[in-house]
C-alpha cells in the first residue's frame, strides 16, 4: 500500500472517530455560560451616521490634547489621588488586581484573561494564561504583572516563573526579570509599576496558592517540550467554576468587584465577564475594613449556587437552594441546581426524584435534559430499569427531533435489554442505526437488530414402547 493510500485510510478512520463524551452537567454549564455571554455582550443599538469630514476631528483632537496637557500639569501640582484598583478572585483561586484603567476579559473557563490595556497583577495558581495583543503568558504558582498598551506589552515576574509565547517562540522568565515585547528580550529589573507596589507586597506576603512551587532559577530558554510534561491534569479543570466569584471577601482585604463587561468586535476576543459592578477607590496609605454585603437577590443567589456547583461545593450549593426555598424559590432552575447538588453528593435517589420533578415543571430542552438525567440515574446508579423506562417515556426524550434523541434511544435500548424485552428494543435500535450510524454504540445496536444465534435443537428421543 502506498503512503497516499495509507493516508487516505487513516483520514477515513479519523472521520469516524468521536470525541470524548461530555457529561450532562458539563454540557449544561457550557450552554448556560454561552447564553450568559450572549446576553452580556448584546450589541448596543447603533445609530446610523453619515460620513463626516475629518478636519473637525483634527481640530477637536488638538484641543483635547491641549486640555490634557493643562490638566496633566495641574494634576502634577496636586497631591496624588488614591490609586483606583480592581480586585477579583476567581473560583480557581487565581487572584487579579487591575490598575491603570485595566481593561480585560475573562475566558469562559476562567482559566485565562485577555488584557486589552492597562496593568494587571496576577497571583496565578495553576496554568493561568494571560494574552495581550503582543504576546501570551502562561504561569503556574506565580505572581507577575503585565502592562499593555497599543505599542507593547511588558511582563514582570515577582515570584515563580512565566512562559511567554511571542512571534512563534517560547521563552521563560523568572522572578526579578522583565520581558518587553518590543525588544523581544528579558532583562533584570527590580522596579515595580507604581500603581501596584502595595498590592504586589500584599500578594508576596501570602504563601503560594498551591503546595508545590515551580519557581525556576534558570535563564530564559525555550520550554516547549517542558510544557507537555508540566501541563496540569485537565480533567480537574472541570471542577473550577467557569465564572468569577466576585463576593469572595475571604481572599482579599477589600471587597472584590467585577470587571465592567465591554463589547468587543475583535474576532480573537474571549468571552466577557459578567455585568458591571461598582469599583471602589482604595487608599494606598490605609487599610479599609471590608464592608458588609448588601442583601442578595434571588438572581444573585442562583448565580452563587451555580458557582458553588461548578466549584464542586455541592453541600454549599444545596444549602443555597434551601436558603432560596425559604424565600419561595423552589421551581425551575432552582430544582435543577438542587438536583445537581444532590447528584454531586451521591444522593442518587433524591437527585433522580428532583430531576423528575424538574422535568415536569420545565419545558423544552431543559425538561428533556432533566428527564434524561433522571432516567440515567434510575438505570445506572439505582439499578431500577423499570422506573427509568417510565421516565424516558414520560419525558419523551427519544422522540424524533428531540435534542437528546440519540442519548434517549441509547438509554432506552439498554434499559429494555436489561429488562429482557429484546423484541421491544429492536425497533429503537433500528431507528438508532438509521439516524446515528457512526457512533461507538453501533455494535450494541447491531446486536439488538440481528436475530440471536439459534441454539441447536435437542434431538427427540422416541417414546418408549409399551410392553
Amino acid at each position: 500500500m502506498t503512503s497516499r493510500a495509507l493516508l487516505d485510510e487513516l483520514a477515513q478512520r479519523a472521520s469516524h472517530a468521536e470525541p470524548p463524551g461530555l457529561d450532562d452537567a458539563t454540557a449544561r454549564r457550557m450552554l448556560d455560560h454561552a447564553v450568559e455571554h450572549a446576553v452580556a455582550s448584546a450589541p448596543r443599538t447603533a445609530t446610523a451616521s453619515s460620513p463626516r469630514p475629518r478636519w473637525p476631528i483634527a481640530v477637536a483632537f488638538a484641543a483635547a490634547a491641549t486640555c490634557a496637557l493643562v490638566v496633566g500639569w495641574f494634576l502634577l501640582q496636586t497631591p496624588a489621588a488614591p490609586v483606583e484598583l480592581t480586585r477579583m478572585t476567581l473560583p480557581s483561586g487565581d487572584r487579579l488586581v487591575g490598575a491603570d484603567n485595566a481593561r480585560f476579559e475573562l475566558a469562559p473557563s476562567a482559566r485565562g484573561v485577555q488584557l486589552h490595556g492597562g496593568t494587571l497583577l496576577v497571583d496565578a495558581r495553576d496554568r493561568f494564561q494571560l494574552a495581550t495583543p503582543h504576546l501570551v503568558t502562561i504561569a503556574t504558582n506565580t505572581v507577575f504583572s503585565v502592562e499593555s498598551d497599543a505599542e507593547r506589552s511588558r511582563v514582570q515576574v515577582y515570584r515563580g516563573a512565566v512562559d511567554i509565547e511571542q512571534a512563534g517562540g517560547r521563552h521563560r522568565i523568572t522572578a526579578g526579570s522583565v520581558w518587553d515585547s518590543q525588544v523581544v528580550l528579558a532583562s533584570a529589573s527590580t522596579s515595580r509599576p507604581a500603581s501596584l507596589v502595595v498590592a504586589i507586597d500584599e500578594l508576596l506576603a501570602t504563601a503560594p496558592l498551591a503546595a508545590v512551587s515551580r519557581a525556576d532559577t534558570g535563564t530564559a530558554r525555550d520550554t516547549a517540550e517542558r510544557d507537555t510534561n508540566t501541563r496540569a491534569d485537565t480533567d480537574t479543570s472541570r471542577d473550577t467554576a467557569p465564572r468569577a466569584d466576585i463576593a469572595n471577601a475571604g481572599h482579599t482585604t477589600t471587597r472584590a468587584t467585577s470587571v465592567t463587561a465591554r463589547e468587543t468586535t475583535s474576532t480573537n476576543s474571549i468571552s466577557t465577564a459578567r455585568a458591571t459592578s461598582t469599583r471602589e477607590d482604595i487608599a494606598t496609605s490605609r487599610d479599609e475594613a471590608p464592608s458588609a454585603e448588601p442583601a442578595t437577590t434571588l438572581d444573585q443567589l442562583l448565580a452563587r449556587a451555580r458557582s458553588e456547583l461548578a466549584a464542586g461545593k455541592f453541600a454549599d450549593a444545596l444549602a443555597t437552594t434551601k436558603l432560596a426555598a425559604t424565600r419561595g424559590a423552589t421551581k425551575g432552575p432552582w430544582r435543577i441546581v438542587a438536583a445537581d447538588a444532590l447528584r454531586g453528593l451521591e444522593r442518587y435517589a433524591d437527585a433522580a426524584s428532583t430531576y423528575e420533578r424538574a422535568a415536569s415543571e420545565l419545558s423544552g430542552t431543559d425538561a428533556i435534559e432533566a428527564g434524561y438525567t433522571a432516567a440515567y440515574l434510575r438505570f445506572h446508579d439505582l439499578k431500577d430499569p423499570a422506573t427509568a423506562l417510565k421516565v424516558l417515556t414520560t419525558a419523551r426524550i427519544d422522540e424524533p427531533g428531540s435534542p437528546l434523541e440519540e442519548r434517549g434511544l441509547a438509554l432506552r435500548v439498554r434499559v429494555l435489554d436489561a429488562l429482557e424485552r429484546r423484541a421491544e428494543a429492536r425497533p429503537f435500535a433500528e431507528r438508532y442505526l438509521a439516524k446515528f450510524p457512526h457512533t461507538q454504540l453501533r455494535p450494541l445496536m447491531q446486536a439488538m437488530v440481528d436475530p440471536p444465534a439459534k441454539a441447536p435443537l435437542p434431538t427427540k428421543t422416541p417414546p418408549a414402547k409399551a410392553p
Partner: protein
C-alpha cells in the same frame, strides 16, 4: 439574571426558519440555548478533529459556544447556521494550535470492531495517534486544510468558505498538507505493518 418565562413548546431541533432566525437575532435566550444545544455535538466533533485529544478540548468548546452565542444576533441567514458555527469553530481552534500535546495511546478511541484481536485494536489506536501527532506538527493553515478536506470530507471550495480563504489557497494548502503527512507516514514501519493484510490462520 432572571430566568426568562418559558412557553410550552415542543423541543424541536432548531432550524433556519424565519421564526427561529427572528428569535436568534432578538437574542431570545431560549432560542439561543436550543440552537447551541443542537450545535454542541458538531462543534465538539469539529474541534476534536482539529485539535486531537487535547486537554484544551473543553475550553475550546466553551470558547466556541460563547462566540457562536455572541454572533447569533448578527446572523443574517445568508448561509446556514451550521456553516456559520463551523467558521467560528475553526477560528477558535486557531487559538489552540501550537500547544504541543502528547497524545497518549489510551486517549484514542477504538476504530476496529470489538471482536478483533486486542493487538489489532491497539495498533489501530496507535495509528490514529500517530496521524494526530503528524497534524500537530504541521502549520495551522495546512492542518485546517487537511482536517476540513481529508477528514471532514469537504470540497476545497466548501473548506475555503469555512476557513475564510480562497479556493486556490485551500487547494494549495491541502496539496502541501497531504504531501507532508504522507512523507511523515511513509517510513513509519508501525503503520505499514498495521495495514498489511492479516495472515491466514
Amino acid at each position: 439574571m432572571t430566568e426568562p418565562a418559558r412557553t410550552s413548546r415542543e423541543p424541536d431541533v432548531p432550524s433556519d426558519s424565519e421564526a427561529q432566525l427572528a428569535l436568534l437575532r432578538a437574542g431570545d435566550p431560549s432560542a439561543t440555548r436550543d440552537a447551541l444545544r443542537a450545535l454542541l455535538p458538531d462543534v465538539r466533533r469539529w474541534l476534536y478533529r482539529l485539535l486531537g485529544r487535547s486537554p484544551d478540548l473543553d475550553d475550546a468548546t466553551q470558547d466556541a459556544l460563547a462566540e457562536i452565542a455572541a454572533f447569533l444576533p448578527r446572523f443574517e441567514g445568508r448561509s446556514t447556521l451550521r456553516t456559520a458555527a463551523h467558521q467560528i469553530t475553526v477560528r477558535v481552534a486557531y487559538r489552540y494550535f501550537g500547544r504541543t500535546t502528547h497524545v497518549p495511546l489510551e486517549a484514542v478511541p477504538d476504530l476496529v470492531a470489538p471482536e478483533s484481536t486486542a493487538d489489532a485494536r491497539v495498533m489501530a489506536r496507535e495509528a490514529l495517534a500517530r496521524l494526530q501527532r503528524c497534524l500537530q506538527r504541521m502549520p495551522p493553515k495546512r492542518r485546517v486544510a487537511f482536517v476540513l478536506c481529508a477528514i471532514e470530507g469537504l470540497s476545497p471550495t466548501e473548506a475555503a468558505h469555512i476557513a475564510g480563504s480562497s479556493s486556490l489557497a485551500m487547494r494549495c494548502r491541502l496539496l502541501q498538507a497531504r504531501r507532508e503527512v504522507a512523507r511523515m507516514l511513509a517510513h513509519d514501519p508501525y503503520l505499514a505493518r498495521w495495514l498489511q493484510p492479516e495472515s491466514p490462520p
